[in-house]
Each structure stands twice: as C-alpha cells, then as structure tokens.
C-alpha cells in the first residue's frame, strides 16, 4: 500500500502575503483602528490591516468557509488566519475596502470585533455535537453567551479584554485559562454496564481511576464508590462499558481569573467560584446570568487595564464574592485529596 503521512506542515512562506514576508520580524507597532480591525505598521513603513470576525462554536460548514474564502479572495488576496482563539482574520486588507468587507461579512452572519478591550471570540469544545463525555453542551452555551454579549464583542468598552472559554467536562480544555470559564460537571457516579463489561479489560479501567474509586466486582465487572469518585470521566474515556452522565444531575461550574501572560500578578489558572448550575438549553439563562453578573461587577469596580484576575488580586477574594453577589459555599474550599493547597494561613482579612 502506498505511503501515508511523514509530510509535516507546509512552509511558512507558502501561506502568507507579500507584505508579511517582506516585513517578517520587522513589525514596529500596531493600532486597533476600530473593533476587529488591527493596523500593523512595519519599520519599513509598510502597513498590514487584519479584520477579525467571530466564528461559530466548534463546527463550521464547508458552505460557510467557502463564502469566507470568496471574501478573502476579493479583499485579502486570498489570505486569512485562524487565531489562537479561533477567530477568523482576513490578512492584509486594503484599507479603503475595509468598511465594504465588514458589511459583507457581517451580512453573512459573522460579526466583526473581538480585539482589545472587548469580549473576544468564545472558545467551546464540541460537547453534545460529537463527544461522549460532556456534562454540558459547550457550543450551546457559547452561542447563548455570544448572543447576550454581542455588543461587548463589537465595542471596546470594558476595562480590559474578557475571554470566555467553555469545556464540556472535567477534561476542561480551555476553560480554566480564561477570564471566565465554564466547565461541565457530572454529579452522579458513572454507570457500569454490567452485561457489556467483559469487552473491557478490567485492570485497565481500575487503573484509569485517579482516586481508586473503581473496585473489581467478581472477575468480570467493577463497582464505583460514590465516596471516592470525583466525576472525572477517565473510566468512561478508557472503557466502553462505563457510561458517564445523568440528564437530571449534569450541569456546569463557573470559574474566573485565568490568565496566561506574565504581566501584572503573572499567569495562573482560574478558580471555580460557582460549583454547579443546571443545564437549561436552548437559552441557558443560568449561564448567561452568571457571566453577565460577574462581568458587570468587574466592569463597575475595575481600574482601566485591569483584567478580572488583576481586579481580584487587588480587592481580594473576600470582596470579590461580595461584589459579584456570589454566595460562598463549602464547595469553594479545595478538599481534593491532591489539592488542599488554598487553605488560608494569614489574618489579612478584607471584611
């Protein structure tokens, strides 16, 4: 059979416009001329305009991509990027044609924005579209949030940027790395399909559990202890005969304060401040309310250029919960057997 793979990725030069190649490594500064449109100025004086649009969560049709390709051909010499937040960017757009492009692409249903102090493109995993582990439907929530926050996507009115990531389960994907994250949580223990059990390899399943919650039951099946299970889904991932999820109990948690860069108080993962909200498609009111509540408290109180993490760093968690109107529960206290690191060892209280 003929060879497969071993190729790698195309060279950089193949997919970038002339101006980018010419000024590669020689960019001097940039201006965000309007939400979604970044003007990059090179030492040579050359400029390169990019136009950024939001993308549908997790899945896009070939039909839509081809429409975007048509626009790219017409306005950016056929060049585009998918950003690290999965925004779509037309690269090297003729400044005089920008408004025209914006009209056309927005009329196709792709809003322009998501730069600087705005809500950026929302990242979400496939959830119920294609995965077997989700406790919640990331794309559905992303869509509901996008609809609610569209004006903040299209404007630069926030103290700093607001990034929202959504993961359908404890695998979490991006959620904890965002200013606000949504993470699917299973609450019931996985279901063992006794009859099917023999297709899986008992030792492997037992080994897959981080907390040792899975014990053998006879030669062929296993039992899961509710005391030890942390609902991580690893067993379901590794064994066909263990099902995770319960329509009546599944839901999601909300985290805040993720940030990657080394500025301010430095990089850190977010912290989970709302342990559980119920799944409520297709409008996902609970998710929308939680996010907007946090966003408004931050917006009202933060200093310019202060991301959610830095805002909390300044005012302290004591005051965050008050200002955000979130009730503290015992679930906020890290008691995971391998966690336990956040117990307080000072009296520096902000009553």
């Amino acid at each position: 059979m003929s060879k497969v793979g071993g190729v790698g990725v195309p060279p950089v030069e193949e997919n970038i416009p002339q101006v980018v190649l010419k000024n590669y490594g020689k960019w001097d500064t940039h201006e965000v001329v309007r939400p979604g449109v970044i003007k990059r100025i090179a030492e040579s004086g050359d400029v390169c305009y990019t136009v950024r649009i939001a993308m549908p969560p997790s899945r896009v049709s070939v039909a839509s991509m081809l429409e975007l390709c048509d626009l790219a051909d017409e306005y950016s010499g056929g060049f585009f990027r998918i950003t690290l937040r999965n925004s779509f960017e037309f690269v090297d757009v003729n400044p005089d044609k920008i408004e025209e492009l914006i009209d056309k692409v927005e009329s196709l249903g792709f809003p322009v924005g998501g730069t600087k102090n705005s809500v950026h493109n929302i990242m979400a995993c496939p959830g119920w579209i294609h995965c077997n582990l989700p406790a919640t439907d990331s794309p559905g929530i992303a869509k509901a949030l996008g609809d609610a926050l569209i004006d903040e996507f299209k404007n630069h009115r926030l103290p700093a940027w607001l990034k929202i990531n959504i993961g359908g389960c404890a695998n979490i994907e991006e959620a904890l790395m965002a200013d606000i994250g949504i993470i699917g949580v299973h609450r019931d223990i996985p279901i063992v399909l006794e009859d099917k059990m023999r297709i899986c390899e008992q030792p492997t399943v037992i080994h897959s559990c981080p907390t040792g919650a899975i014990k053998p039951k006879g030669k062929e099946s296993v039992v899961i202890s509710a005391e030890r299970c942390i609902h991580c889904g690893a067993c379901t991932m590794h064994c066909e005969s263990i099902l995770t999820g319960d329509p009546k109990l599944d839901g999601f948690a909300v985290s805040v304060g993720g940030k990657a860069s080394n500025t301010g108080s430095g990089p850190d993962l977010g912290r989970v401040v709302i342990p559980y909200l119920p799944n409520n498609p297709p409008k996902w009111e609970e998710a929308v309310n939680a996010v907007t509540m946090i966003m408004h408290a931050w917006r009202k109180d933060a200093r310019p250029d202060e991301r959610i993490k830095e805002w909390i760093h300044r005012i302290g968690w004591d005051r965050f919960f008050k200002k955000a109107g979130i009730k503290v529960s015992i679930k906020d206290v890290d008691g995971y057997m391998y966690g336990n690191e956040f117990a307080r060892s000072d009296l520096r209280f902000g009553w």
Binding site: G5, V9, V12, W27, P57, V60, M237
Partner: protein, 401 residues
C-alpha cells in the same frame, strides 16, 4: 476516488434534513454565529445533536484515538448510542499551518475533501489548533483523505499517546513583540518529530505549545505538557526620543510606571529608567509603550507539566530550562533539551500519566536532575521549606559504609 465517497452509509435522509429540530431552530436565531445553522448546512446527522439537547445528554458513544490506515494516529473514532440515527462518525485531525495562516487556493481543496469524504462540517480549529475534517465513515476514506492532503503538503496526526500538533503564535509574521520565530520553529519541529506525531509511543499524550514572547498568546506555560516560550534576559530597550514624543502626544507614562508589577520603572518627568534589580521582564511596559522594546539577549524558556486533568488535577507548566538559545537551521540546543524531556517522560512515566503528574510523583528535584538541568532560582518560586533531603552516597563520602 468518487466511489469511496459513495460508500458512506449515512443514516436515513429524514434524520438529516432536521425538519423536526425545534431546539436547533432556536439556536439558529440571534446575532452570534450559530453552530446549529452551520450543522444544518452540512450532512451532519442533526438529530444526534437535537436529541442530545432534548434529552440533555449526549447521544454519542465511546470513542477516542483511532488510526488512519498506515499511520498510528490522526483520527478520532466515535460510536453512536443512537443507531437509529447514525451508527458512528469519525474525524481526521489535519495539523495546523505555521502561524495558522491559510490561503484560499489550498484551503478550498480541504473543503472539497470534507465534502467528498466527510459530512461537510469542519472544526476550525480545535483548541490544539488542528483542523478537524468531520463525519468520515470508514478507513478507506481516512486513508484517501490523508493521501490527498499529503499530496498538497499537508498532514494528519495528533491523536492518542503521541506528540500532538505543536501550535504556535503568529510571532514575527505579524507581531512586533516576537523575540522568537514561532512559525518557523513550528515548521521545523513538526517535520523533525513527524514520526512521534503520527506513531503514538509515549505513556500518554504530549502537547507542545509555543509562544513568541512572555505574553504567551499560546498559553504554552499554562497547558503545554511542554511549553516553548520566547524570553529575553537583558532589560527592555527604551528609545528616549521616541518616548518623549509619545508622552507629548499624550501617552500616560506615569500610569504605566504605576502598573509595573515590581515598581521597576522610574520616570523623572524627562527620562525613564528601569531598575535592573527589580525588572522581571513581564512585558507590560513593552505592551503599552511603543518606545519600549524587548531586549536583545533572546532565547526560549522550556516549561513542562502543564495540563488540565489527570490525577493531581489542573496544573500549570513548570520552568525546566529557563533559557535556551534558538539556533536555526538545526536548533541543536533546543532539540536536545526538548528531546531530553520527552525521553525522561518516556522512561519514567506510567501508563496514562501526564508529564505534570509524573513530576508531582517523582519530585521536581529528581525531574530536573534527570533532565540534566543545573538548577537556578528560575526553577522555583522559593527554595524548599523542609529539610527532608535525600543524600546521595557521594555526598556522604561513603562514610556510612
């Protein structure tokens, strides 16, 4: 080829048209781009999603890494729990381009393949920055797609216990802050390690993430099993003339000084100085003031152990090699350091144990030793608190024999 595509045994057309999809119809409304609308424009079995929403439970069944014929990796297989709608639906992961730049001429081919062999839906991009071609039904199709991609100079992989796609940021291609050439490094690394990307051989997945500077748009430190991030050791460079112009044009330098996390900046009204004893190269002043640029003593920091789940839960990466020179074309030092980490993992990791969990288990000191790192404060936030040392035989001069 045509025949292969026909072999797709998709479910009854009714299911697909989505005539009875009140939930998805709801999700098609509103200003934000709608995945529901997108799915409806494809051959994706919409009733799978509609039913999922209705029952508030995914209708999809077991799945995970599967291999493209002739390769060890490259696909995700997915069974369905609703054979009445569809039996299964696989997808292929196409490695993302350097800097994730695309041009329509080649991309249209990818669209064509997706139509021909898949259900017409794409994942643009995954959070590890691959393109996923969705709705592929069988091995022949997978192989065909892969071979056609190969012909275009594209490739697949990045599934299972292999090295995954190595996402980068746009770096010098468009960004003024880049102190490292991420796209070219990505291109080099992908070719250099293509076998490890396509043939799983590690205890668990290895996700390598890259960023061109400490702003870390690649979130490499937070979630890279291995992170490669551009850093500089000397102080930020200040262009005095340009700075005063900027200030005269209304730039608020005092504000920037106030926000320097270590109060390293001192503006006396005329001149800006940065205290070398305080600056931690955080990028803030550089981000805010065009007259301040990264220093010239450049390289990369290599981190390890970032991940989101696993036994010890979510973990940030830890600094292993704080500074490595970047030397194309062979990137000797970098490849050596990177390979060392992978080998140590290969030799010491337990099945399905991520690098971060392994470090937690064997200890950061042991890991650094195995990696041959000469320890420095760049490796820790503080020295240890306990005196529970392990003393090597040499340290005891063999006395206790």
């Amino acid at each position: 080829m045509a025949d292969i595509s026909k072999t797709a045994d998709r479910t009854v057309k009714e299911g697909l048209t989505g005539s009875e999809t009140p939930y998805m119809d709801e999700l098609c409304k509103g200003p934000w781009p709608s995945h529901a609308r997108e799915l409806k424009r494809t051959q994706y079995p919409v009733m799978m999603y509609e039913e999922g929403i209705k029952q508030r439970w995914t209708q999809w069944g077991h799945g995970g890494m599967s291999s493209v014929p002739g390769l060890g990796s490259g696909a995700i297989a997915r069974k369905s729990r609703r054979p009445d709608i569809i039996s299964h639906s696989h997808l292929i992961r196409v490695l993302g381009n350097p800097g994730t730049f695309y041009k329509t001429s080649t991309f249209r081919k990818i669209c064509e393949l997706t139509e021909r062999y898949g259900d017409g839906s794409l994942h643009m991009l995954t959070t590890n920055y691959n393109i996923e071609i969705c709705g592929i039904m069988n091995d022949e199709q997978m192989k065909a797609v892969t071979q056609e991609l190969n012909a275009m100079g594209y490739d697949v992989g990045s599934a299972g216990d292999a090295m995954r796609n190595m996402p980068d940021c746009m770096g010098p291609a468009l960004c003024e802050y880049a102190v490292m050439d991420t796209p070219r490094l990505k291109h080099f690394m992908t070719k250099h390690f293509i076998d490890d990307i396509q043939y799983p051989r590690f205890p668990f997945k290895i996700k390598t993430k890259m960023a061109g500077c400490p702003n870390d748009c690649g979130k490499a430190l937070l979630h890279g099993d291995i992170g490669i991030i551009g850093v500089f050791r000397d102080l930020p460079k200040i262009n005095d003339r340009r700075l005063s112009d900027w200030v005269n044009r209304g730039g608020d330098i005092r504000w920037v000084c106030d926000n320097c996390p270590t109060n390293a900046m001192n503006w006396d009204g005329k001149k800006l100085t940065i205290d070398g004893d305080s600056c931690i190269r955080c990028m803030y002043c550089i981000n805010r003031v065009p007259a301040i640029k990264p220093g010239d003593d450049r390289g990369v920091a290599i981190t390890a152990g970032g991940k989101m789940k696993g036994k010890y839960g979510p973990m940030k990466g830890k600094v292993i090699f704080p500074f490595i020179k970047v030397t194309p074309p062979d990137y000797k030092e970098l490849v050596a350091a990177y390979t060392r980490i992978c080998d140590v993992y290969d030799d010491n990791g337990r099945k399905k144990e991520r690098i971060g969990d392994m470090i937690q288990r064997i200890g950061m000191d042991k890991f650094l030793e195995l990696c041959g790192v000469e320890p420095s404060p760049m490796n820790f936030t503080s020295p240890r608190r306990n005196t529970f040392y392990h003393w090597e035989h040499e340290e005891l001069g063999g006395v206790h024999e």
